[in-house]
Symmetry: C2
Subunit: 500 residues, 2 copies
């Protein structure tokens, strides 16, 4: 496989330092602009991406091997995300602006006037993922949310799509410049050394990362070891198990297998939310094999994203196949565009050795676990590590309180009769989960709630109105959502807007 990786020069440590310093300057110049102004910058980036779609999608296709339709959809998602974030920051929820007026009769003793607002952290380092060259890369969720928060971004381009990364970076930088944003607010770097220097740089205040458990943990450790540690928002690995009840299996086995085969091989199984394991009642092997062969046979095959990922896939698959209690159900091949593999084991074996619940196989391979009794499901759930998602396939009237509770304890998103691969960008979305799914289980990397990751609160005590930041002034000049003396207020801050 050839990529443009070889022709792009790697960023030196000196160049990295220059870009981080320029980003800091840009951040300082932009720190206090009104949300409407910042929203225009995000919208300018969104429009520029749309304008360059016909150039960017083929570039992405060439470097990632992903299908054109999928990449067009991903670019649409990326553009939508920027516009949703623009709208969100105008509403001002991300400021979490809170005002407590002076209160001489406050229960613990007289209360001074205290007002709190979230402020942007500063320069954020973002590491792009290989598997979503738009949505989780240069100007994907981490970069968009950091810019929406008011931070500057230095993005480390993924080795897997350096040509696309560099071109996207140019388009973003030019769009920001044309929209009047300060220089330096967004830039890109390349190469492993620059990535490490980015995590270490004293002016960098947070890291957004999507990638492998090993690489993510190494950078997390690095961020913790700094003289001044910084938050590391890392999305690492997840097997995204699916649990099928006896009744659901009896009622619609083939439909479930078809849905599973589709979700598990979408993008050649290279989704962080790929359902890697499905737990089902004991079945007739010939029948299930026939259904899966038929479903899997219709899926388009492409090469994996990068040679490194292919090597990782082969290694992980070999390791799981080598487990004594794991058998082949459908064996793929080692072609450049490999056909999917399906392995099989039993709940009893998993209770002895939970490796299949722990080891993500990033690529087109999955494991089916057969159980004898539905009573085993909660115990199997308890053996899971932290997950991005966990899915239940059940009949609509089933009550599975114990299983739902067990799965919510292990994962960031729990699904009912749907598939985890689609991650909608919205207000309620949570794309996160306990370690090792992420290194920051309280945060999401998708949806409007992701903006707050790149902010911290500052309280102002007894400040004169004229010296307060706009978000906290009595007249609410930015017309943002606030909480005043414990009550939610309308944007206009009128008393009838109380929401409690």
């Amino acid at each position: 496989m050839t990529t443009t990786a070889d022709v792009l020069p790697t960023t030196s440590t000196e160049q990295l330092d220059e870009r981080v310093r320029a980003a800091r300057t840009g951040y300082e110049q932009a720190r206090e602009v009104a949300p409407r102004r910042r929203a225009e910058w995000l919208e300018a980036i969104a429009s520029a991406l749309e304008e360059h779609a016909e150039e960017l999608v083929p570039l992405a296709r060439e470097e990632s091997h992903l299908a054109t339709g999928r990449l067009q959809g991903e670019l649409k998602r990326t553009v939508f995300q920027l516009r949703l974030f623009a709208d969100e920051i105008v509403g001002g929820e991300h400021f979490a602006a809170t005002i407590d007026h002076e209160d001489p009769s406050w229960g613990m003793g007289p209360r001074p006037d205290i007002r709190r607002v979230n402020v942007p952290l500063g320069v954020v380092g973002v590491f792009g993922a290989s598997n979503f060259p738009f949505a989780f890369s240069v100007i994907g969720g981490d970069s968009a949310s950091a810019l929406a928060a008011g931070c500057a971004v230095v993005h480390k381009i993924h080795e897997g799509h350096q040509g696309l990364g560099a071109r996207t970076g140019q388009i973003v930088t030019e769009a920001l410049e044309a929209a009047g944003a300060p220089a330096g607010l967004f830039s890109t770097v390349t190469g492993r050394t620059a990535g490490q220097a980015l995590v270490d740089h004293p002016l960098v205040r947070a890291i957004g990362f999507t990638g492998s458990p090993a690489g993510g943990r190494a950078l997390f450790d690095r961020a913790c070891r700094r003289p001044v540690p910084i938050p590391f928002y890392g999305e690492l690995g997840s097997v995204n198990p699916v649990f099928v009840t006896e009744r659901a299996w009896a009622a619609r086995r083939d439909e479930i297998l078809a849905g599973y085969a589709n979700a598990a091989t979408m993008g050649m199984g290279q989704f962080c939310t790929k359902p890697g394991v499905i737990v089902v009642p004991a079945f007739d092997v010939d029948e299930v094999t026939d259904v899966l062969r038929r479903e899997l046979g219709t899926k388009p095959l492409t090469a994996l994203l990068t040679p490194g990922l292919r090597e990782g896939f082969d290694t992980a698959l070999a390791a799981v196949r080598a487990l004594p209690a794991v058998d082949d159900l459908i064996v793929g091949d080692d072609a450049e565009a490999p056909r999917p593999t399906v392995l099989i084991t039993t709940s009893e074996d998993v209770r002895d050795d939970a490796t299949v619940l722990e080891r993500e196989i990033f690529g087109p391979a999955t494991v089916i676990i057969q159980y004898r009794s539905e009573d085993e499901l909660e115990e199997l759930a308890s053996l899971l590590g932290g997950q991005l998602t966990a899915t239940i396939q059940a009949e609509p009237d089933e009550r599975l309180t114990g299983l739902v509770s067990a799965l919510h304890a292990k994962s960031g998103r729990v699904l009912w009769n749907s598939w985890p691969t689609g991650v909608t960008v919205s207000y309620a979305q949570h794309h996160g989960g306990p370690y090792p799914a992420t290194t920051a289980p309280a945060t999401t990397s998708v949806g409007t709630a992701s903006i707050g990751r790149f902010m911290r609160p500052v309280a102002y005590q007894s400040f004169p109105e004229a010296q307060l930041p706009s978000a906290l002034r009595e007249a609410n000049p930015w017309a943002i959502a606030r909480r005043v003396d414990g009550h939610r207020t309308r944007k206009s801050n009128t008393p009838e807007g109380e929401a409690r």
Copy 2:
């Protein structure tokens, strides 16, 4: 100095493990109770503390040497905090419940029904502080917010008040039991080994800590190194600088000095928010010395909290006094209850060596920095490390945009013409700040916002109503504040409650 520390047995690692396991069981039993029920538990603890005030305050006085009036006020604050948190969780802000209904015309493609709610993390380990034996100790802010979040707490009693700690722990445990809370939800342990084992225990999901920079960083590193890292909410050190403008100094020098002397020696200077440094225009040394001697001479003197803190005070004071550019203005003594010390240096010297801005002297000693020109203030602010607070003393009509901006970048709370030692418990309070003030700058350890530290979000996708957690059901049975399709709603979830 004698304390009951010697007579209390330290907790063995086995006992620690038992308590953590019991806490996990208690947490699981309590996890899904309605907020009103949990609020009753907090209120039961508050009432029990009030009932035992006459027993607890003398115990605290004996072990901490703090004055009775101060301890009574601190207990009142602790009780108020529990009741405010009880009220807050009934309102349900901490759930951040967010509902996005299914939307086939959502901009990036059809949106499924997604609902997000914050859930409690599990067992939380809390390390009590020596300087607030009620408000930041056994059932202080960290424990109260963790219980309010729905977590169980294992509290490591501070060596400085083990008798009070053990007795408070009993009272809390009995109050919870009498109120019908599950066993194990709250317990205490003692000793350094148990403290370390608490940070390491696989069932512990977060740590709350208030203490020294060295001890806090060691435990932070420990929490990061775990196979499954956990958040470490540590409040470490802060010099809490005060910046005085030329006009304020000219208009009310003696009043400022009196306020400063009071704040800096309150509780013998053993406040995390003690203003340790004041930056003022060049002055007449004799006059200022006279004012300070007079003000400081009226303050009651007591022994420091513990022999260890006394040793730390002596060491830090000696180190700062040994700096070549630091001179004595008022020299205290080395009595068991030491008189306050005031040191003096210049802005020019601080620009050469910023140690006085970095080294907290925990106890009754402060540093005055004289500047030549107000233009230097922003530069001095830029030399600061992360702070809990930074204070400006200015005339009401002064415009200090640059200085306010420089200070907000360095601290969690910025004050105008007030003193940082009072930290009111309210909705808008933020008691936190950039490292080394804390290890988690996006969180507060005081105020209702502290509850969210001990929760993480879970999203439910396409769930049937009957299987959703109560906080997310369409009918809003707990009548909590929510955000629905992007709009804030009243508790009753009626459309007229929209707050955007």
